[in-house]
């Protein structure tokens, strides 16, 4: 793999939110470690999924990658450039390359703007700032073509968000994200707010757009079935860290990390026969608070396979097979050609 294949590279990403106490003399009493050392790479043209339960840091990771949330440590490299090192003007330029589709289409669209204005806003802003050289006519034309490719009829152009259904609103959000011709779409739970019959329409639309426009996706979701369907590679997060990364099919056929195994076994399958025969791994307890400083493996308190060693040191994400990495002492690292990994720093 050459470097040009890597569109997005995230290294050692940490996002800590300080917890402060006191009114006059505010002092820091700790941190919520929302993202605690995350590394991954997204190759051009692939759909890379980040899954995990609430509070695991997947959305914070996405928002930090999108430069909507400052990081505490680590780097986000997009198309070979470290985004944190860019000047505000250069960052604005770079942003045209990566756009976000948000979870809740109702709250991420301005209720007082018409559909066409929402979709064309990125174009108008870039035209005003002189980043993009387009005139009003071209913007209108582009808006209509975006609406069409997202399955919205032209007649909807002058309607307001409340006049649309949830699925159509998400189409508007997607059209807006595509307006500047991005290479990377960061989709943060894009179908979670939608009903099943609408969800499949939006997933199909995203798949079609990926193929037609050669888009790359960083896809965040809590629904494992959706992620498996949409993504080619998946990282499972737990408590601010990636615990397993693999090709989608490998992850579902042969999950290695005890957390991934429990997570997959908990997903209900719409087949009564299969459900009856299934053995669920029921995890004890809840996810610990990310403000608690834990020694050892973050999953050990709930892990059915916890060993003495897990309380002492934290396992690192290591390759156990080509393209399959896991952070768990159950799996000794094997020497795999370090395709995607850095050498020792």
């Amino acid at each position: 793999m050459t470097d040009t294949d890597v569109l997005l590279q995230v290294r050692g990403l940490k996002v800590y939110f300080p917890i402060e106490k006191g009114i006059l003399l505010r002092r820091r009493v700790g941190y919520v470690r929302a993202v605690d050392g995350v590394d991954f790479e997204v190759k051009r043209g692939e759909a890379f999924g980040l899954v995990g339960e609430s509070g695991c840091g997947k959305s914070t990771t996405a928002m930090t990658v999108a430069q909507l949330q400052p990081s505490t440590a680590g780097t986000v490299t997009f198309e070979g450039r470290d985004l944190a090192s860019l000047s505000p003007r250069d960052l604005r330029h770079a942003r045209m390359g990566f756009q976000v589709v948000f979870q809740d289409p109702a709250s991420s669209l301005d209720p007082r703007q018409r559909a066409a204005d929402i979709i064309s806003e990125p174009l108008r802003i870039c035209a005003r700032l002189g980043i993009l050289d387009v005139d009003a006519g071209a913007i209108t034309e582009k808006t209509f073509s975006l609406m069409e490719s997202c399955g919205l009829s032209r007649e909807f152009a002058s309607r307001y968000p409340h006049e649309f259904s949830g699925g159509q609103r998400q189409r508007i959000g997607i059209a807006r994200a595509l307006a500047l011709g991005p290479r990377l779409i960061i989709a943060d739970e894009p179908v979670s707010a939608l009903d099943v019959s609408i969800q499949s329409q939006i997933l199909n639309l995203l798949k079609d757009l990926q193929r037609e426009l050669g888009l790359t996706f960083l896809f965040i979701a809590h629904d494992l079935a959706v992620v498996e369907y949409f993504c080619s590679r998946i990282a499972v997060m737990y408590l601010g860290r990636i615990v397993e990364t693999a090709e989608a099919s490998a992850l579902y056929q042969k999950p290695l990390h005890p957390y991934t195994r429990a997570l997959l076994s908990a997903v209900p399958i719409p087949d009564p026969g299969k459900e009856r025969g299934r053995r669920r791994i029921i995890l004890r307890g809840d996810v610990p608070s990310p403000s608690k400083l834990m020694k050892g493996c973050p999953f050990r308190e709930r892990c059915p396979d916890a060993m003495a060693r897990c309380a002492v040191e934290a396992p690192a994400l290591t390759a156990v097979e080509s393209g399959h990495q896991v952070s768990c002492f159950l799996y000794p690292a094997v020497a795999v050609a370090p395709a995607a990994r850095d050498g020792p720093a």
Binding site: A248, V267, E275
Partner: protein
């Protein structure tokens, strides 16, 4: 006790019939017109069984259950027709006092969002005790002991101490456990669980569903499970009613429904969910369009604009409910679809009258 999920549905004789809903219709008056949120809904619940009510948002599944317990806010809502037969009474017309006594004691409910269903300024113990004191006349100390026992039963660690905590000190999963403890404390015959795990993560959902399953099996409680998740239905229910636009469009035993869905909506729904047990990749089946507005619904099949097999008649009249019984099953399955409306000596016979 019968294990839930076992293949044998409840025996057909009437002794096991617990709740019979017939032609239940609930309307809401809005500025745009009348909305029949629940439209001529009928189903039966048998002792010890788990019945799933599935449908998308706005299909009327929650209002159905609020209507059974007479909890629909009036105005704007009103139960305008139907019968809710329970213990020889019609809950729709019974005196408010009679229904109040049954609520919480014989029929109890778990809501979707435990945070908004728990009182934030009262201790957990106070809230769990309330029903016990009210319905069973237990004294303070006895009620507390029973409340702590219930909390322990639903798996709250260190229940004795945690009972004095407030709801905000509990996690989402723990709050839902508290709701379940409250709902089951009076040993109800019927538990109505309205999307009990929708707000929870999958690993916590697995814990909660396991809990409901175990407790309902132990005490032979019949469960009405409202959900939009067909995976949850497959794992939990004996029978299923599929709702669309306020009506039950299909009802069947869980195996029949998943292996041989009759209504095009049910089929479309089953085909459009991505599944972890199947490889991804290709396109998903999708149902075009979106559910209709329920305001002043015309007399037509509400699914016809989205239906791949829509015919002329579907636009003109609502299909009659066809009932049939598969070989080896002792309860009929029903479907409301013109495709199945005429059974002129076909392979499946009509239900004997």
């Amino acid at each position: 006790m019968k294990e839930p999920g076992a293949d044998t549905p409840a025996p057909p004789h009437d002794a096991s019939l617990l709740l019979e809903v017939e032609g239940l219709t609930t309307e809401f008056r809005t500025e745009q017109g009348r909305v029949a949120a629940v439209d001529r809904v009928s189903f039966q619940l048998h002792r010890g069984e788990t019945l799933g009510l599935v449908g998308e948002s706005g299909s009327g599944k929650s209002v159905t259950n609020l209507s059974i317990l007479r909890l629909v806010p009036d105005p704007p809502g009103r139960v305008v027709a139907g019968r809710v037969g329970y213990r020889g009474k019609d809950l729709r017309t019974a005196a408010e006092e009679e229904v109040r006594v049954l609520r919480g004691r014989n029929i109890s409910m778990i809501f979707q969002d435990p945070l908004t269903s728990l009182n934030p300024v009262l201790r957990i113990s106070t809230q769990v005790q309330e029903a016990l004191q009210l319905h069973h006349g237990l004294g303070g100390r006895q009620a507390r002991a029973k409340a702590v026992e219930m909390l322990r039963l639903v798996g709250i660690p260190d229940a004795e101490r945690r009972a004095d905590d407030y709801p905000h000190q509990f996690s989402g999963g723990m709050r839902q456990r508290v709701m379940i403890a409250m709902a089951l404390s009076c040993n109800p015959e019927i538990l109505i669980a309205d999307e009990p795990t929708t707000a929870l993560d999958v690993t916590i959902q697995a814990q909660i569903l396991e809990l409901i399953k175990g407790l309902s099996a132990r005490s032979a409680t019949a469960v009405i499970l409202i959900t939009h998740d067909l995976g949850v239905v497959a794992g939990m229910c004996d029978r299923v009613c599929v709702m669309y636009a306020g009506r039950i469009v299909e009802s069947a035993g869980v195996d029949e429904l998943f292996s041989d869905p009759l209504h095009p909506y049910t089929r479309g729904l089953l085909d459009s969910i991505p599944r972890v047990d199947r490889a991804g990749g290709g396109r998903l089946h999708s149902i075009p369009g979106s559910p209709p507005s329920l305001i002043d619904m015309p007399d037509a099949c509400p699914f016809h604009p989205r239906c791949p097999s829509a015919m002329d008649i579907c636009r003109r009249a609502y299909p009659p409910e066809t009932s049939r019984r598969a070989a080896g099953s002792d309860r009929a399955r029903t479907v409301s679809c013109w495709l199945h409306a005429e059974v002129r000596g076909g392979p499946t016979q009509r239900e004997p009258a």
